[in-house]
């Protein structure tokens, strides 16, 4: 894998589109393994598009584009401006709230990040926030989506590690609150330092507030309707994106009457460009991921950590740091599948609660979606907003550090993680 990593870095530096750079790196791996069928990389790229949990990505991208064209986004923005307008970086704060709401229905950080980038990213930049920061907060903000239940990471960890999924779901809520707080405070700090002006200087009058609430009623109802669709059993988390599209269509055509045939066509065409960029990358990264799995890279990293210390907290911190580092290049799903059988039994043996460790571990692994050079949510946001990865990376450092700090702090706060699961079960 060393040569593969070098080639990958080289291709990236050469300015090759990331999708092809990662495909080239995967090709090097397969050239080193002539015993594998030559059709296998092609097979794996196709197989990514047969993965039902990735189906949410195109659906939410289309939903985001439709909401822009049908009047939902505009009204949501008006409302958000009214409510958060006196805060510096108010729209960024509003986007974090939206991620929290989306978290209740969707388990996909990539889908949420892509949808929000399309819905409000452009507007945030237009209101004077820096491009890199906008991409960063929309991407990192999506960490709330899989940590607020339901989330695919918790289901994977629970089924592989034989840990109660219900307890894991309940355990996600308070840490998600901490993550949100960390992002909100960092945003406020960056906004103050950047001197971004608040959009409003005075408090909203009641009449103004009621009028915006009335206009934005159906828009506000959007996450609530999705929640009803999920809780009533109409849709599963993988399917909920189709319901989001449907809702946007109905509101745009029948309620707001803003969605024209032309607007619909434009929404679809823009979505296709977004989807092509994101999904090609995910499809072409499959052979590279296969190399990491075949050579059991995460397992080697974990084994190296396990012998280093006798202290439970120190070991957990070491593992969190290793997972954060591995997450730069390795997909969260792979990390959870490969490490869950190895690490939890050992920390459990040292007296850690598997739900506590699981939550910390899942959050750390999830952050890999947002960190360069390999991170699907980051790519989705950068591709949709046209923000260079370099700018994204520079602006994201404080966001990453804030979240990493929360994860490390959670190691020492088992009571916080376990409070709700112990209350419910």
């Amino acid at each position: 894998m060393t040569l593969v990593a070098i080639v990958f870095a080289l291709l990236l530096v050469m300015g090759l589109p990331v999708a092809f750079a990662i495909a080239g790196a995967g090709a090097v791996f397969f050239l080193q393994h002539p015993e594998l069928p030559f059709t296998q990389p092609a097979q794996q790229a196709i197989s990514q598009t047969q993965n039902f949990s990735l189906l949410a990505i195109p659906l939410f991208i289309l939903a985001g584009n439709l909401m822009n064209r049908c009047g939902i986004t505009g009204r949501l923005l008006d409302l958000a401006t009214l409510l958060t307008g006196r805060l510096r970086g108010g729209l960024a704060q509003a986007s974090l709230v939206l991620s929290g709401l989306m978290g209740g229905v969707s388990g996909s950080a990539i889908a949420d990040a892509a949808m929000q980038a399309r819905m409000i990213g452009g507007e945030m930049i237009a209101r004077g926030m820096s491009r890199g920061f906008v991409a960063g907060i929309l991407s990192f903000g999506a960490v709330l989506t899989p940590i607020i239940p339901p989330g695919i990471g918790m289901i994977l960890y629970g089924s592989i590690g034989n840990v109660s999924i219900g307890r894991l779901f309940a355990a996600g809520i308070l840490p998600a609150l901490c993550l949100w707080l960390a992002l909100a405070l960092t945003t406020a700090f960056i906004a103050r330092r950047g001197g971004w002006p608040p959009e409003r200087t005075r408090r909203a009058r009641p009449a103004e507030a009621f009028s915006a609430l009335g206009a934005g009623f159906w828009a506000m109802l959007f996450p609530v309707m999705l929640l009803i669709g999920l809780r009533s059993g109409l849709f599963t988390p993988s399917e909920i994106g189709a319901f989001a599209v449907f809702y946007a269509l109905v509101i745009g055509i029948a309620v707001y009457r803003e969605l024209s045939r032309k607007g619909l066509g434009q929404a679809i065409e823009t979505s296709l460009g977004d989807i092509g960029g994101v999904m090609l990358l995910i499809a072409l990264s499959a052979p590279f991921s296969y190399g990491i799995i075949l050579e059991r890279v995460p397992e080697d990293i974990a084994r190296a950590m396990l012998g280093l210390t006798e202290s439970r907290e120190a070991l957990m911190v070491l593992i969190v740091l290793a997972v954060l580092a591995a997450g730069f290049v390795i997909d969260a799903t792979i990390l959870i599948i490969m490490l869950t059988p190895i690490v939890p039994p050992i920390v459990r043996g040292m007296g850690a609660d598997p739900v506590h460790f699981g939550m910390v571990f899942i959050i750390a692994a999830t952050l890999g979606n947002f960190t360069p050079p390999v991170g699907a949510a980051m790519y989705a946001v950068c591709a949709i907003l046209g923000v260079p990865v370099g700018e994204y990376t520079r602006a994201s450092v404080p966001l990453f550090l804030a979240l990493a700090l929360v994860v490390v702090a959670l190691v020492f706060l088992p009571g916080l993680v376990l409070f709700l699961p112990n209350l419910i079960y």
Partner: protein, 303 residues
Amino acid sequence: QESWTLRFNHVLGPNEPFHKGFLAWADRVAERTGGRLKIDVYHSSQLGVEEDIIEQIRQGANVGQNTDAARLGNYVPGIAVVNGPYMVANKEEAFALADSPTMQGWIEELAEDHGIRVVCFDWVQGQRHFFTNRPVRAPEDLDGLRIRTPPAPIWQESIRALGATPVAMNFGDIYTGLQSRAVDGAELVYTNITAANLNEVLSHANETGHILLVNFQIVSEEWFDGLPEDVQAALTEECRAAGQETSAVIADALEAAKAELVRRGMTIVEDVDLEAFRKAGEKAYEVLGLTEARAKVLADMGR
């Protein structure tokens, strides 16, 4: 000295007895061949989805897969009968299937025409039951219940014949699907329930035992053909031995899982009208055109 590696993939989690069984198979083979043949086991479908692995196998790759009769039935239709309702009664009958001339004929057809070598199929996962949120004692009780089933047509037809409405759903959605009532139940074995904590969203275990799930270990015929005879024998015979041992472990694990579920408050429905279910199950063979194939295998087994 020449050596070989087999990368063996399966969909189950690392806590399942099958995973430990595959590791035992790998150890036995390594020991018996003096390390010439090494089996690397990958759990949780790490190497890819089952159908992709089968495709690689057919192209001669050094990979193996734990699969079932329903999937192999896509290539040689007759084999699918093993997956039919109330076909195999117990694990001893499953082990004896290897001596059925009809089965042997199908397995050679699979190797010659499709490049898939069945190493052995002495791996019995246990009786599948219906897990629901209300008691099920007769096929009528399943009427209108949406039951999650693996997305293979033979499976769907079997469950339909038994009276339920089959719903294809990917495994990751089962928990939330049950929680939100997108489906009303699932048909699984006891150990699946404890492993995935599905007792949190299911209240009743109805012991229909409608399918005894027999698993098949497959590799590439081209790759297998390239092994010396003694290595082939080691791979096959240790597969059978490890499989039969694991099947016995599973039987115990199923009992333990059942006891654990009782402890967690699940209601076990034992007074099931098996005769009615058996009769209902016949329809699946008719719909799938497997009546004749079933009769041949049953005759081989002296039933």
